[in-house]
Amino acid sequence: MRAVVKNGVGVFHPQGFLDGNDSAAFLSIEDIEATVHNNAEMILVSLKKVVFFNRNGLDAFVKMFKKVRANNKATVGFCDYDSKKYQTILKFYKDELNFSLFQTQEIATLFASSYKNTNKTVLLYSEDKSQRAAMAIELHDNGHNPIVAQTYEEFSEKAKNESAYDEIVTDTYLGQMGQNVATRVTGNAIIYTLNAFLDTEIGSTFNIAYHNNSLNVGFRLFIFDCYKVVSMNVHALNFFSKLASSAAEYNATICFVGMTFEKTPRSFKETLEDSGIMFYPQMDDILKNKELLEELGASSAAVVQNKRALNKATVAELPNFIDATVATIEMMTNAKALKKDVQLQTISIDNTPGMIGSSIGYYGDLDGMIVLVFPLAIAKKACELLIGDSTDDIELILDTLAELVNIVGGKVKTLLGDHNISVNITLPRTYPNVDSLMEIIETKKGVQVDLLFNEEKFLFFLTR
């Protein structure tokens, strides 16, 4: 069984009875390895569709939690349970509860830094005073407004006014939380969250390949959330100076938010500022200031300085990229695709209204970016399989389109893997209109393939 990964949160969905040794069958060695290496910042096991479990039944998953924690420090735990199940798990693991428990998946995502929607008003209660404090701090750090009830009576009273809160958190327990450099995307900015002491370790906990490819696919604003940083040493200073230099090649901006210099030499700030890093006291100083956002490059990508040509290796694999895309769209729409035209050029799109786009980068033995441009009707049709109903909610369509491009990326990865070419994929990006897409790739040369689905033109573009 494999986890479904969305917005950096991987969830397993076992069903039925988690009984004794049988439940070990849910996770093969390959499944555990795949989970360890999938880079999710949170790994959860949903108990929503489990009607019965015993200690041995849960142990198979708890063993996996330990492996994942040991390897990548992701937050791990169970979610989607009722009060009775919560009490049972607490009873089973009373002295060795080093994983987390989240009443629902929605509550879990409040504690994940990749969660897109911040600023939720959250009522929370736990019998354990230290848990109440830990949850409040985590929620606050993730941009929410926690309201802590100190007694059960106070909680019950406040909870009656359900509509006053976006979420009500109870029957939740925070075990060891993630310590990796977590990533979340807000609009066109990427936010990294840093913790505690920044030293030589930052070189291994920061995913530099992911960062470089984010630059390559057009992200231009990188914000380091430093509220939880205690101090920084000279190794970390060098690391960030180099990062700023490489960002400058792309006209990208790096900002530090909430960094205090009580335990870090003041001179470090000057060095970082000299290398181009900007400092802001609060996250809202950037995210709520549209003019500043534009100036920093988060809404309009600057022209990339180092245009890179498609290389021979990429062109040789072109049929695989096209096949992966066509097969995915065919699978999602149940419609046949007709290949109309293939050309090596800068992208050319009829700027008709109602076109939306998406892109995903890949890196490893090969690197580059796949761009897909859909008429809204095809995008809606392709997303119906995942959503279930036809919808006109453009946000939902764009979100689902991101999942679809993820599938394309996954398929490309598999097809290239069959040819012994190993690649990883970046987070997908979506574009609500052609203009926002053109800002990123207008000047890039690549292979453009025009396809027809149900008489509607659909565009595939491969570039570096």
Partner: protein, 265 residues
């Protein structure tokens, strides 16, 4: 990925029940075990199947039972009819499983486990009705249909499910506006199974409750039994645990009774 044409093609290729089987079932319907055994003897594969299945440990017979008349005699009319229906279903199972890691033996074991536990449930509910007993034999049709339709699309299904917790039944419903249990119903009709059998299996999908309260209750028991069975390691390994969605809310009403009948503590 899967089209209505492919579904029609699959249904089209299901052979009608063989003559010997039809006669056997007709005699069982008339409660004539002797004539039923004579008709069954004409079908060697049915003979072999019945011997294999009734001698499995879950049926608990001390000595090997090998003669067809003896088998029918021991099983009685209702369970004989159920066994013959199970055999019909096994005719539909593929020679080589691709989507699910099953083989002839593990599929027969699945049928035997479902059958034996369904008997326990019906005994607990004090139900003696050969068509209701037979209903369990149609349940694995949903698994066979999944294998037939999705086996060539394993990689697509895996990719789709890597980004969305979506079961095969929902995928099929969204693509073709028909689901695995609708196709099972068509198989049941083609093989002239009783309407009551078909309705219970439809309810056991967990997403299409029957308007008949009694049949709906049986659908709940069957849904729970299916997931009790699919939570065993051999079937988890086979990839069967999440082929359809387990509807926990649908079965909560019978949860305590089920735990008692299956002696789960």
């Amino acid at each position: 990925m899967i089209t209505q044409d492919k579904i029609e093609d699959f249904i089209e290729r299901i052979p009608p029940a063989p003559e010997a089987l039809r006669k056997t079932l007709s005699h069982l319907k008339a409660q004539d075990l002797t004539k039923a055994a004579v008709s069954a003897k004409a079908d060697m594969a049915l003979n072999a199947y019945l011997k294999n299945i009734v001698n499995k440990p879950i049926f608990g017979f001390r000595n090997e039972v090998s003669d067809i008349s003896q088998i029918f005699g021991i099983l009685g009319v209702a369970r004989s009819q159920q066994a013959v229906h199970n055999y019909m279903m096994s005719l539909l199972s593929p020679s080589k499983w691709e989507l699910f890691k099953l083989n002839k033996s593990s599929f027969y074991n699945l049928q035997a486990e479902l059958t034996a536990n369904w008997q326990k449930i019906l005994k607990h509910l004090h139900i003696e009705n050969k068509d209701i007993e037979s209903a369990i034999s149609l349940l694995p049709a949903s698994i066979i249909v999944s294998e037939a339709l999705f086996s060539e699309k394993i990689e697509d299904v895996k990719l789709l499910r890597s980004v969305n917790d979506i079961d095969l039944n929902t995928i099929l419903k969204r693509l073709c506006e028909t689901d695995l249990f609708d196709i099972a119903e068509r198989i049941g009709k083609k093989w002239e199974m009783e309407p009551i059998t078909i309705e219970i299996v439809q309810a056991s999908s967990g997403v299409k409750p029957s308007v008949d309260a009694e049949l709906n209750l049986l659908g709940k028991w069957m849904h729970m039994l299916l997931f009790f069975t699919l939570s065993k390691s051999v079937y988890i390994d086979a990839g069967l645990n999440d082929f359809i969605d387990f509807q926990t809310d649908y079965v909560m009403e019978i949860y305590s009774d089920f735990m008692q009948v299956m002696e789960i503590q």
